[in-house]
C-alpha cells in the first residue's frame, strides 16, 4: 500500500531479510538438486570424491531404472547381434544385457491409480459431510469433528495392526481397492476439516436465495454451493493426493507386489552388485518432480491449506 506506513520495514531491513531467506532456501534445496543431478550421472561420477558438480550427463540411471539386466561374459557379448536401440547400447557398455523391464513402471502406475482413486473418493465423501456439518445441526457435531481429527494422531503402525487382520479376512491385502479405501479413510478427516472451512466461508444467503427461487436443498447444494467451493475442493484434492502419493507405512505393510506403490519400492532399487544410486535418484526424480511442480504452480491455494487446518481451531 502506502510506502509511508510506519509498520512497513525499511529497505535495508528488507534486503537483509531477503538475503537470509534466500540463503536458507539455497541450502535447503541442495539435497533436492542433488537428487535431480545424481539421476543424470554415470555410476562412477555419482560416487566420485570430491562430489562432482559438473559432469557429463548420462542416461544410464534412467535406463537402469526401467530395466533388469544380467551380466554376460565378453565372449557371449561378442556373439550377440549389434544392439538395436540406444539403451541396449548403454547396457552393453557395462558388459550386460537387458533381461526385461523392471517393476518401476508398474509401481508408479499403482501410485497413480491408488492416489487418484482415493483422492476422488475422499473429496466426494468429504464434500458431502463438510456441507452437512457446515449447514445443518448434526447431533454431537463438535465431538464428531474432534474425533475425526484425533484419528490422525495415531502412529500409522498402531492403526495398521487391526487393519492388517481386517484386510486378510476380507481378502483386501495387496489390492488396489483395499489401499484406495484405506487412504480414503485416512484422508477424509483432513478433507472434511478443510472443506468445512471453505464451505463455512460461502455466505448462506446464496443458498437461501436459491431455495426461495424454488430450488430444493439438493439443487441448491450442487448448483450454488459446489461452484463456489470449487477452489477449496481443488486444493483439498491436492492435499489428499499428496498424502496418498507419499504414504509409506501402510503401503509397506499392506502391499507386497500387485498393489505396491512407488515409495516402498524406490528404496529397494538395486543394480547388479551394489546400490545403484543414479537409478535410485532417477526413480526418485520421476516420483518427486510432479509434486514439486504442483507445489510451485498452485502455491497460493496450497500454502493457505496447510495452515488452514491447523490454525482454524
Amino acid at each position: 500500500m502506502s510506502s509511508y506506513s510506519i509498520t512497513e520495514p525499511s529497505a535495508p531491513q528488507k534486503w537483509i531479510a531477503g538475503t537470509l531467506v534466500v540463503a536458507y532456501a539455497v541450502i535447503t534445496l541442495l539435497p533436492l538438486v542433488w537428487i535431480l543431478t545424481t539421476g543424470f550421472k554415470s555410476p562412477v561420477d555419482a560416487i566420485a570424491y570430491p562430489p562432482k558438480v559438473l559432469f557429463e550427463p548420462s542416461l544410464e540411471g534412467y535406463v537402469n531404472l526401467f530395466t533388469t539386466r544380467t551380466r554376460v561374459s565378453p565372449e557371449q557379448l561378442e556373439a550377440l547381434p549389434p544392439p538395436e536401440t540406444w539403451y541396449e547400447e548403454v547396457v552393453r557398455n557395462r558388459d550386460m544385457v537387458i533381461a526385461g523391464p523392471s517393476r518401476y513402471g508398474e509401481r508408479f502406475l499403482n501410485s497413480v491409480i491408488i492416489g487418484f482413486g482415493s483422492t476422488f473418493l475422499s473429496v466426494f465423501l468429504g464434500t458431502l459431510a463438510a456441507y452437512a456439518f457446515s449447514r445443518f445441526k448434526v447431533p454431537l457435531k463438535d465431538d464428531l469433528l474432534f474425533f475425526i481429527l484425533s484419528t490422525r494422531m495415531m502412529p500409522p503402525i498402531a492403526v495398521a495392526i487391526p487393519i492388517f487382520l481386517m484386510f486378510r479376512t476380507l481378502g483386501l491385502s495387496d489390492t488396489h481397492l483395499g489401499m484406495i479405501l484405506l487412504y480414503t479413510a485416512v484422508n477424509i478427516s483432513l478433507a472434511v476439516w478443510l472443506l468445512k472451512g471453505f464451505i463455512d466461508e460461502i455466505p448462506r444467503e446464496y443458498e437461501e436465495a436459491a431455495l426461495i427461487d424454488g430450488y430444493t436443498r439438493f439443487q441448491a447444494f450442487y448448483k450454488v454451493v459446489l461452484p463456489q467451493a470449487a477452489t477449496g475442493i481443488a486444493s483439498t484434492a491436492i492435499f489428499c493426493l499428496i498424502f496418498s502419493w507419499n504414504e509409506y507405512a501402510f503401503a509397506v505393510l499392506l502391499t507386497s507386489g500387485t498393489a505396491q506403490t512407488a515409495p516402498p519400492f524406490i528404496p529397494t532399487i538395486i543394480g547388479v552388485g551394489g546400490q545403484d544410486w543414479p537409478a535410485v535418484a532417477a526413480g526418485a526424480t520421476l516420483f518427486l518432480v510432479p509434486v514439486m511442480v504442483f507445489t510451485i504452480l498452485l502455491r497460493k491455494h496450497l500454502l493457505r491449506g496447510i495452515t488452514f487446518g491447523a490454525v482454524r481451531k
Binding site: T68, T70, R71, S73, P74, D95, A99, G100, R103, F164, F167, R168, G171, S173, D174, L253, L254, S256, G257, T258, T268, I270, V272, G273, G274, Q275
Partner: protein
C-alpha cells in the same frame, strides 16, 4: 515381446504335439531375493516356459527387505507368489502355519526321491519337523557363508615379505579364525598401489539377518551352540558358554580393528562393493555370489581367490541357501508343481550349476568333474559338510530379531559386554520359547 515369446512357445508345443501337458497356460509368479542367482534362474526358466507353455513372472526383492516382505505376504495369505524360494529358516513357520504345500504325495507320485539330493540340504531346506520325512520344499540352492581375497595382493613379493617378517609365517589364505584376524589386521590401513586398503569386509547389518549371519561364522567354529542337547531348548551353557563369549568378542575385535570405516550396517551388497572397489583384502559373502565375482572384469579372474570359512575349535560354516516351495494360497498349484517337477530333473540341475546356481542334486555334486568345474567348487563341498543353521522354529523371526539386536548393540553400538549380550539373548529366547509352549 511377451506375445512373441508366447507365439514361440505355442509353435513349439504345436510342433511337438506330445509335449503339451495341459490345455491351459498359466502365468506363474516366482518370488525370490534379488541377487545374481535369481538372474540365472530367469535364464534357466526359459526352457520351462518353452516346454510347458506357461509363462513365468518373477518378483525379486532385495535381501534386506526379502524376509520382511515375503513373510508379511505369507502371513496375509497373499496370492502374489505361486512359487517361493524362501530362506531355510522359514520352513518351520511355512509348514506349521500352512503357508507351504506339503510335497510328499507329489514326490511319491512323480518319482522324485529326496535321496537324490545332498542329505545336508534336504535336512536344512526341506524337512519339518527337522530330519523327519515331511517335505515342504525341494532343495533349490545350496549356499553357505564363505570368503574371497585379493590373490594379486597376497602374491606381491613386498607384501609377502612384510607379512613374513611380522608374523614369521608365509602369507596364505587363513586356516583358522585367528589367522584370519591376523591377516585382516595386517592389511588394515596398509598402502597398496598408492591407496589405503583395509582388512576385511564383514556383515554388520542390523535390519534383517546380516550381523547374525556374519558373527555366527566366527562363533560356530570357536564354540557357540544353540542347545546343550539338541531339541531340548537348554540354552544355558551353550549360547553363553565361555567359547561363545570368546567367539563374539572375536567378531567385535575383527570389526573394530580390521574393517573399513563406515561399514556399520553392511551386508551382501556392501561386502561386494567394498571388495570390487578395492577397499579390502578379504571379504565374507555367500557362495552364491562367487561365480559373479570370479567373472568380474576388474577384480575377478586371476585377481581373486576363495577359501572356506576358517575353523578354530572345529570346522563350521554358516548355512545359507533355500528350497523352492509351492505357496498354499496360490490358485495355480498344479502349474507350480509342474515347475518343481521340471526343476528336479538332473539335466536341468546340471544346467542350473552351469548358469551359476548351486544345485543340491547329487548327480551334480558327486560328479567327479564338479570339484574342478570352478575355483570355488571344492570349497563349496567342504563348506556344505560343516554347515550350521540358525533356529528353524516357527518363531524364527522373533528369535532372529532378538539376536540381531543383542549382537548389534554389543558389536557396533558398544553397549555392554559380550557376556551380557549373550545372557540377555538367552532371556529373550527363553521368553519366546515359553510363549511357544516349548519351555
Amino acid at each position: 515381446m511377451k506375445t512373441a515369446k508366447l507365439l514361440a512357445a505355442t509353435a513349439l508345443v504345436a510342433a511337438s504335439g506330445v509335449l503339451a501337458p495341459q490345455a491351459q497356460a498359466d502365468e506363474l509368479t516366482l518370488c525370490w531375493a534379488a541377487w545374481d542367482p535369481a538372474n540365472a534362474l530367469v535364464e534357466l526358466s526359459k526352457e520351462f516356459e518353452a516346454q510347458s507353455g506357461h509363462t513365468m513372472k518373477f518378483e525379486f526383492v532385495p535381501w534386506p527387505n526379502f524376509a520382511d516382505r515375503m513373510l508379511n505376504e505369507l502371513n496375509s495369505g497373499g496370492k502374489l507368489c505361486d512359487l517361493l524360494i524362501g530362506d531355510s529358516q522359514w520352513i518351520g513357520g511355512g509348514a506349521e502355519n500352512g503357508h507351504y504345500v506339503k510335497l510328499n504325495d507329489f514326490f511319491d507320485k512323480e518319482g522324485i526321491s529326496m535321496d537324490d539330493f545332498a542329505p545336508a540340504t534336504v535336512y536344512a531346506y526341506s524337512t519339518w519337523p527337522k530330519g523327519t520325512p515331511n517335505y515342504y520344499a525341494l532343495p533349490a540352492m545350496g549356499d553357505a557363508n564363505g570368503w574371497f581375497y585379493r590373490k594379486d595382493w597376497f602374491e606381491k613379493p613386498e607384501i609377502q615379505e612384510a607379512f613374513k617378517s611380522e608374523h614369521g609365517r608365509d602369507l596364505a589364505p587363513p586356516k583358522t579364525q585367528m589367522e584370519l584376524l591376523e591377516i585382516a589386521q595386517f592389511f588394515q590401513e596398509r598402502e597398496i598401489d598408492g591407496q589405503k586398503r583395509y582388512g576385511a569386509a564383514i556383515f554388520t547389518e542390523r535390519g534383517s539377518e546380516g550381523i547374525t549371519m556374519g558373527a555366527t561364522s566366527s562363533m560356530y567354529p570357536i564354540g557357540f551352540k544353540y542347545e546343550m542337547t539338541p531339541g531340548k531348548y537348554d540354552m544355558e551353557g551353550a549360547v553363553n558358554s565361555p567359547e561363545a563369549v570368546a567367539g563374539l568378542e572375536f567378531y567385535k575385535e575383527l570389526y573394530k580393528t580390521a574393517t573399513p570405516p563406515g561399514y556399520t550396517d553392511s551386508y551382501m551388497e556392501q561386502s561386494l562393493d567394498a571388495f570390487k572397489s578395492g577397499q579390502v583384502a578379504m571379504a565374507m559373502n555367500w557362495f552364491a555370489f562367487f561365480p559373479g565375482l570370479y567373472a568380474d572384469p576388474d577384480t575377478g579372474g586371476d585377481k581373486i581367490g576363495f577359501f572356506v570359512n576358517p575353523g578354530q575349535a572345529k570346522e563350521a560354516s554358516t548355512l545359507g541357501g533355500q528350497g523352492i516351495s509351492v505357496v498354499a494360497y496360490s490358485d495355480k498349484q498344479e502349474a507350480a508343481l509342474e515347475y518343481i517337477k521340471w526343476f528336479a530333473q538332473p539335466s536341468v540341475q546340471s544346467k542350473w550349476w552351469d548358469l551359476g546356481g548351486y544345485s543340491c542334486h547329487v548327480s551334480v555334486l558327486n560328479d567327479p568333474s564338479f570339484a574342478d568345474s570352478a575355483p570355488f567348487a571344492s570349497d563349496f563341498l567342504l563348506a556344505m559338510d560343516g554347515v550350521m543353521d540358525f533356529w528353524q522354529e516357527p518363531a524364527y523371526a522373533e528369535l532372529l530379531l532378538a539376536m540381531q539386536k543383542r549382537l548389534h548393540d554389543y558389536v557396533v553400538a558398544d553397549q555392554g559386554t559380550a557376556q551380557e549380550a549373550l545372557d540377555k539373548l538367552i532371556e529373550d529366547w527363553t521368553e519366546t520359547f515359553e510363549d511357544e509352549g516349548k519351555l
